[in-house]
């Protein structure tokens, strides 16, 4: 069953993400893919995450397909204009990639090529719209396509944003533009997520709660200071601080969060960021 079918059948799904290598050595990527195979329902390939130049997300998705792991193609609008984006959507379909996560993307100055010229011809909402147009047999210029693709379109939302209302307004726009599922920014406070889901439920699209695995108290503090929409409460920072085996603690907290929020949503999206090898342990601990 595909990710789409599982969500439609009401199965609680698990997705995880892997960042393609910075370079052409795909050993680690392959290892991580093997590790996740059979344990998760689909794997996201990030698209030049944090505006850092790497191996392409579409090629990584193709590698996953070859391994029998269902990919989610992350697409950002930072590096390509509407012509290239639509072309890559067609390419994805031809290569058997159905799931596409439409993102705006981080700004170039945050990455490793701050001198680059950012594109942002489209944004997350208009990219969804473009994909939906293609599915209807037309491109953004209204020109007919020879053969029409079919996607399972996803988008991202930040439930912990303050204020959250503009996020919800944008979420509604994303649903209207074609989003069929959402993966969220990391959440460490189930209460915040519960309040968000109360509002988001009305859109009737599945939401996968985002989990970022903690590595240390310092990492948590860093995210609190620098990453918008992420708030790690003091108790969790304390817990990490006191733990002897930090990695194990991070795994334990991730599993606990999944269990606490499982009942509120339709799946979970685990962003291990370098700790991909720990994902099976998290799933074991969460009994998934």
């Amino acid at each position: 069953m595909s990710l789409r079918e599982k969500l439609q059948n009401g199965k609680f799904v698990v997705t995880a993400e892997i960042g393609p290598a910075k370079g052409v050595d795909i050993h680690e990527f392959n290892e991580n893919a093997e590790l996740l195979k059979g344990r998760v329902d689909a794997v996201n390939c990030t698209d030049q995450q944090s505006a850092v130049m790497r191996l392409g997300s579409l090629v990584a998705c193709h590698l996953l397909n070859q391994k029998g792991v269902e990919p989610v193609f992350q697409m950002t609008c930072r590096d390509r204009n509407r012509i290239a984006l639509q072309s890559d959507l067609l390419s994805a379909y031809v290569m058997g990639v159905e799931n596409v996560l439409c993102l705006t993307g981080d700004y170039v100055t945050l990455g490793d090529h701050p001198d680059a010229k950012p594109v942002f011809d489209l944004d997350s909402v208009s990219l969804l719209h473009a994909a939906q147009q293609l599915e209807q047999g037309k491109d953004l210029a209204g020109k007919e396509l020879k053969g029409t693709p079919k996607f399972f379109l996803g988008a991202c939302v930040t439930p912990g944003a303050d204020p959250v209302e503009p996020q919800l307004i944008k979420m509604e726009r994303k649903v209207k533009a074609g989003a069929q599922f959402f993966q969220t920014q990391a959440i460490y406070e189930p209460k915040t997520f519960e309040a968000f889901m109360k509002e988001a439920k009305k859109f009737g699209v599945p939401v996968l709660v985002g989990i970022v695995v903690l590595r240390s108290a310092a990492m948590a503090k860093f995210m609190n200071k620098n990453v918008a929409g992420i708030h790690v409460p003091d108790e969790l920072i304390d817990e990490m601080d006191k733990a002897e085996n930090k990695l194990q603690k991070g795994v334990e907290i991730a599993a606990r969060l999944i269990n606490e929020m499982k009942g509120m949503c339709q799946g979970t999206h685990i962003m291990a960021i370098g700790l991909e090898s720990k994902v099976p342990a998290i799933l074991d601990a969460a009994k998934l």
Binding site: R82, T104, Y107, T109, L110, P118, F120, D121, L122, D123, S124, V125, S126, H129, A130, L140, C156, V157, T158, A161, D162, P163, E165, P166, Q167, I169, K170, E172, R173, A177, Q185, A228, G229
Partner: protein, 227 residues
């Protein structure tokens, strides 16, 4: 000089849908030269709006609409007329519209598209910026330009990155444009505007016209091929 051209009347009327009483603001700066916002155009607009069943509560043509301090003093005597209006129609460039929005607590609608801010930038003393996109969306954003106020020039709402109202890209120096837009629309009770944005932006009008893009050599070659 800032070049602007009037939007088609149906587009303007679309903005005013639901608003019965309008106050018109014109500009004697560049808009006078472009014939988008000088007194004759303001009066013509007043008449047209009247024909469409709108009441124009008053109008004011400001010397330079890009100078916020000036706008404030010039609009002051019209306070009652502005209070009586549902919204304001501003007939000038994007900067003038933004400057007006910054000093009144009413929704402002742009009557023109800004196609070029080249040359002298008027009396512009504010923080307002215009990317001369040629298809002004200020009507939908409470008079704050998303193309210049948002680092990623998003037109469909905020990314998830703002923190304490600051932009994720330059948190020390820059407010999140979409946070400003959201706060303003909320204050005006018009958050519905955020839902009506055009999803895809047309950037064609941002390209300089052929004549300006060309070099003399290029122009000569063009002529030669024609001969």
């Amino acid at each position: 000089m800032i070049i602007s051209e009037l939007k088609p009347l149906p587009e303007i009327l679309g903005y005013l849908d639901g608003d019965k009483k309008i106050f018109i603001v014109g500009c004697k700066g560049c808009a006078e030269v472009c014939q988008t916002g000088d007194e004759p155009q303001v009066l013509e607009m007043k008449q047209k709006l009247g024909q469409e069943g709108k009441t124009v509560t008053g109008y004011c043509v400001v010397d330079f609409l890009c100078d916020k301090a000036l706008v404030k003093t010039r609009l002051f005597p019209h306070e009652d007329e502005i209070d009586a209006a549902d919204s304001l129609l501003v007939m000038t460039c994007g900067i003038g519209v933004q400057a007006t929005a910054a000093v009144v607590n009413k929704l402002v609608h742009p009557a023109a598209n800004t196609i070029n801010v080249g040359g002298s930038r008027g009396e512009w003393r504010g923080s307002e910026r215009c990317r001369e996109c040629g298809d002004c969306v200020l009507d939908l954003t409470g008079g704050i330009c998303p193309l210049t106020a948002c680092t990623k020039w998003l037109i469909n709402g905020p990314c998830g990155g703002a923190k304490n109202g600051k932009c994720e890209v330059e948190p020390d120096v820059r407010d999140c444009g979409w946070h400003l837009i959201y706060e303003r629309l909320k204050k005006l009770g018009r958050l519905d505007k955020m839902q009506t944005m055009p999803i895809v932006k047309n950037y064609a009008k941002m390209q300089p016209p052929k004549e300006l893009r060309s070099t003399i050599m290029w122009a000569l070659e063009q002529q030669e091929t024609k001969v």
